[in-house]
């Protein structure tokens, strides 16, 4: 039985790490995969989602609605930033990363000035359950389900809906899509907004489990970056498997040596993986297929 308990414990931790990596990376991956833009203000969209979610929850809204409110707020902020700052830079992808870093500095420090160094959060709901000698948080299981649900919804969204088809057409050959009457500007705007909204969703989902500080985004960005780097440009063939592999690496290192070892191991794993698979997991899978 003890072996079973340990296996369950490992699976739970891997799932937890997987959910964290998928949720924090998918917004970044969509914006990068679709537009070639690395959004360094990603952590600030997460922070935005978390702050709005906590504020809404404290105002009396039920938690799921508050989380959605956080995602919507971040998505809206994303669309505004896309319109003002990202749009003139589409032909200079390396400059977008610098510009979004500037945005990140302004937002982090601006939040500190306006809202102070910390914000009261909401408690983690649902309590815990016990398997064998260990007890586990129910909310973490909810997060795992949410990560899988998000991936599923994105897949349906990009393959089955009209927006998904138009978005993929715009990404593949922007000029032809435009000539065929697609409003490519709007598609870019919505895609960036979607990426920001997913970041906000991650923030909202994790808001009940964390301390809300203006720099909280940086707790997510390293993991999000490495997942996208390992995964490559495709969210379903890249981000999801990368999150699974890295999740297992992180969970085993964390349970062996502590949280910091998990992070360092993650980074070392990434540096080795990119030496072997420079185009990420998705690049590798796609090359195998063709």
């Amino acid at each position: 039985m003890t072996v079973l308990f340990s296996i369950f414990s490992f699976l739970y931790q891997t799932g937890d790490a997987f959910a964290f990596l998928v949720l924090s990376a998918c917004g970044l991956a969509i914006i990068f995969g679709m537009m070639g833009v690395i959004n360094l203000a990603h952590g600030e969209f997460i922070m935005c989602g978390a702050y709005v979610c906590a504020a809404a929850a404290r105002a009396g809204l039920p938690l799921p609605i508050a989380i959605l409110a956080g995602a919507l707020a971040a998505g809206f902020a994303g669309m505004v930033i896309e319109r003002i700052i990202i749009r003139p830079l589409y032909d200079r992808p390396l400059d977008t990363i610098v510009a979004t870093w500037g945005v990140s500095m302004v937002v982090t420090q601006g939040t500190l000035i306006l809202l102070g160094s910390t914000m009261p959060g909401t408690g983690t709901p649902f309590g815990s359950f016990t398997v064998g000698p260990y007890s586990y948080s129910v909310y973490r299981v909810v997060l795992m389900v949410a990560a899988l649900g998000t991936l599923g919804l994105l897949w349906v969204g990009f393959t089955k809906t009209r927006f998904g088809v138009l978005a993929r057409a715009t990404i593949q050959v922007p000029h032809i899509a435009q000539a065929l009457g697609v409003n490519t500007g709007l598609v870019y705007s919505l895609t960036f907004g979607l990426g920001a909204a997913l970041a906000g969703l991650a923030g909202g989902l994790y808001a009940p489990t964390m301390t809300l500080v203006p720099t909280m985004g940086s707790a997510f960005v390293v993991e999000a970056f490495v997942t996208v780097v390992v995964g490559g440009a495709d969210i379903f063939l890249g981000t999801a498997p990368a999150a699974l592999v890295l999740g297992a690496v992180k969970a085993s290192l964390t349970s062996w040596q502590g949280q910091l070892a998990g992070q360092i191991g993650l980074l070392v794993a990434v540096i080795i993986v990119i030496r072997i698979l420079p185009r990420g997991i998705s690049g590798w899978i796609l090359r195998e297929r063709t």
Binding site: F32, G36, I38, L40, I85, P88, L89, R92, P93, L94, D95, I97, V98, A99, W101, G102, V103, S104, M105, V106, V107, T108, Q109, G110, L112, I113, T215, S218, V221, V222, F225, V226, V228, V229, L260, Q263, I264, L267, V270, I271, I272, I274, R275, I276, P278
Partner: protein, 358 residues
């Protein structure tokens, strides 16, 4: 150049296609600036002079980033990692071995070497894995952020190297200042006039050395790689080696900044490798004009001075202004504010523009 011996040839590379400024007007202005910088301590209080060395400390990192990013076209967002590693290494070595017999100079060299070694290891994986563009930026940024978190958790007494305690987020202090062994008595470089001249001389040497480097064959190949990596490769250059060497030189300069800063303040903290610290060099270099050493240096000094003034008068808004400055530079003057001004002046002086297009 008519120079027949190799020294004259090397000195001839002080000006060339990859650097703004040549001929009499530029070098007269350069001499004037150096003379003013040398004369400054005569008119100021030793304490102020020592404090202002602070600006020079960062200039090396800015020049290194200009080499990597501006000339090499490689986005390295983690220069602070090398700054921090060299700073901590200096602290550990100098606390353990003391400052006698010029050992701090050994500590300086060893720390810069440590930064270069880390850059070589990291750069091997990045450049030989043919990681380029945005990925390189985020991997280097991740490295510095993880290093910050690692150093931040070293508060316990078990985190010590010999006599040197790492001290976690509070930072490491108490290391001796750089000391030059001299006849009679050693010269201790406290933040005062002597340190000012030492750092100034080092800065001028680095600046002129880099000018020679970028105008040499190496620099020309480097710029060719920035302009079109594929073309450079087809012409037979191993671009990975050039990029790696550039990355190592630039990172060693960041390490030099780290050592000088640590010795200057006798203090180094994990925050010097954090997100904000990593962003600031990007701001200095981008605002000045990353693709030229001179504009980078001027830009870095101006932004640092502005940042200092803002920190004194409205500390919390300084970072907001820096971020906004970065966004505006990218949107309005992508090649840098000082660079635009520099090309304008050069065009007026010589009646024809120096360099066109990127």
């Amino acid at each position: 150049m008519q120079g027949t011996n190799s020294l004259m040839k090397t000195l001839g590379l002080l000006q060339g296609p990859q650097t703004l400024g040549k001929g009499k007007p530029f070098w007269s202005a350069f001499t004037l600036v150096v003379a003013l910088a040398c004369a400054y301590p005569l008119f100021a209080d030793g304490y102020d002079v020592g404090n202002n060395v602070y600006f020079f400390n960062w200039a090396f990192m800015a020049l290194g980033l200009s080499l990597i990013w501006g000339y090499g076209g490689t986005l390295s967002f983690g220069q602070t990692a090398f700054f921090g590693v060299a700073g901590y290494t200096y602290g550990v070595i100098s606390i353990n071995f003391g400052d006698a017999y010029g050992l701090t100079i050994f500590a300086l060299v060893a720390s810069v070497a440590a930064a270069a070694l880390l850059a070589a290891a990291l750069g091997y994986f990045l450049f030989f894995g043919r990681i380029s563009g945005v990925f390189l930026g985020i991997v280097t940024l991740s490295v510095t952020l993880v290093l910050e978190r690692f150093m931040a958790q070293t508060a316990g007494p078990e985190w010590r190297v010999g006599a040197a305690r790492l001290n976690g987020y509070n930072g490491m202090g108490g290391m001796p200042s750089l000391t030059i062994p001299w006849f009679g008595s050693d010269i201790v470089l406290f933040p005062d006039v002597q340190l000012y001249y030492f750092t100034l001389a080092l800065l001028i040497a680095c600046y002129l050395g880099l000018r020679i480097l970028v105008n040499s064959r190496f620099g020309n190949v480097l710029v060719a790689i920035r302009e079109n990596p594929q073309r450079a490769e087809m012409l037979g250059y191993d671009i990975r080696v050039y990029q790696l060497v550039t990355f190592i030189i630039g990172s060693a300069l960041a390490g030099l900044s780290g050592v000088l800063y640590t010795s200057w303040g006798n203090y180094i903290t994990p925050a010097s490798m954090g997100m904000t610290a990593a962003a600031l060099p990007i701001v200095w270099v981008a605002v000045g004009g990353r693709s030229d050493l001179t504009t980078t240096l001027i830009g870095a000094m101006l932004v640092l001075a502005g940042f200092q003034a803002l920190t004194i008068h409205g500390s919390q808004y300084a970072l907001v202004v820096m971020g906004a400055l970065l966004v505006l530079t990218v949107l309005i003057a992508p090649r840098g504010l000082v660079f635009g001004l520099g090309t304008l002046v050069a065009g007026l002086v010589n009646r024809k523009p120096k360099r066109q297009g990127e």
